[in-house]
């Protein structure tokens, strides 16, 4: 009996090591996704924490060799739906100022990009892009975020949002079209309007 307990413990330790290598590595992406969904840093932390607890509990069901980040995002999204949607909280309708202050506070000290701090655009424009993105209907905003920011494939996104790949493709097209309309002035202003075909 004692011997069996030691074996289980070793298995658990192996699981722990693998989990921390495979799953905890994606914590920044998950936190950003949670922030976008909840629009609230405290709620985002809770959501990420609950996601990791659930992921750890069911880590044996994670199919090795598949995208762990996509698996975690799916869990987080489900948690979000269960926790927040039932309370009729509509993140898209939350006042942007709520989260703007948060980003203002952290952007200089916690930026996770490689851009130089002196990059004028970096410090100025994220708000415009963020606002434009947040102003989109959620079904469009979500797929754009998962594709353009998180880099998931259409198949992975389709699995996360539980829609056919064709729907993901269509939402991306329509969402980007809407987004581009909102960003056109901003793009011209900051030199993104290079000549087509060059």
């Amino acid at each position: 009996m004692k011997e069996k307990k030691q074996i289980l413990s070793a298995q658990e330790q192996l699981k722990q090591q693998e989990f921390q290598q495979e799953a905890v590595a994606h914590i920044n992406s998950l936190y950003n996704y949670a922030l976008h969904l909840t629009m609230n840093p405290d709620d985002a932390e809770d959501l990420v924490q609950e996601t990791y607890l659930k992921a750890y509990k069911f880590f044996s069901s994670f199919e090795r060799g598949t995208n762990c980040k996509a698996w975690l995002f799916k869990i987080l999204k489900n948690n979000y739906i269960n926790k927040f949607r039932k309370n009729a909280r509509e993140p898209g309708k939350v006042d942007y100022d709520l989260i703007k202050d948060f980003y203002h506070t952290i952007k200089d000290v916690q930026s996770d990009t490689t851009e130089a701090e002196s990059d004028f655009f970096h410090s100025l424009l994220h708000e415009e892009v963020y606002q434009a993105l947040q102003s989109l209907p959620e079904e469009f905003r979500e797929v754009i975020q998962l594709c353009d920011i998180e880099g998931f494939t259409y198949e992975e996104i389709a699995n996360m949002v539980e829609s056919p790949i064709g729907t993901v493709r269509s939402r991306l097209y329509r969402g980007r079209k809407l987004l581009r309309e909102k960003l056109e002035d901003y793009a011209r202003k900051h030199g993104y309007n290079t000549e087509a075909g060059e």
């Binding site: 952007k107 996770d112 987004l179 290079t194």
Partner: protein, 75 residues
């Protein structure tokens, strides 16, 4: 292919999500349609703007530590 279909394909093209057949069809259309070529450039720019300008933040250290702790087995 008409311009409406081409525009839907452009969005998937910039994500590398077209089938070889669709790629070929789109290339043929772009070769003969100036308006769609311009549209394709704009579509690419939109993706670049999103990727480059969205600030990504690091998870708070306390959150990272709490998760490592939660998933650490005490033996």
């Amino acid at each position: 292919m008409n311009c409406n279909k081409a525009m839907v394909l452009m969005s998937a093209a910039i994500d590398g999500e077209l089938t070889p057949k669709e790629e070929e069809e789109l290339a043929l259309h772009l070769a003969e349609c100036t308006a769609c070529r311009a549209e394709f450039q704009d579509a690419k720019k939109t993706k670049i703007i999103i990727r480059e300008r969205m600030v990504r933040v690091k998870a708070p250290r306390t959150l990272v530590e709490s998760i490592v702790k939660l998933t650490t087995v005490t033996t």
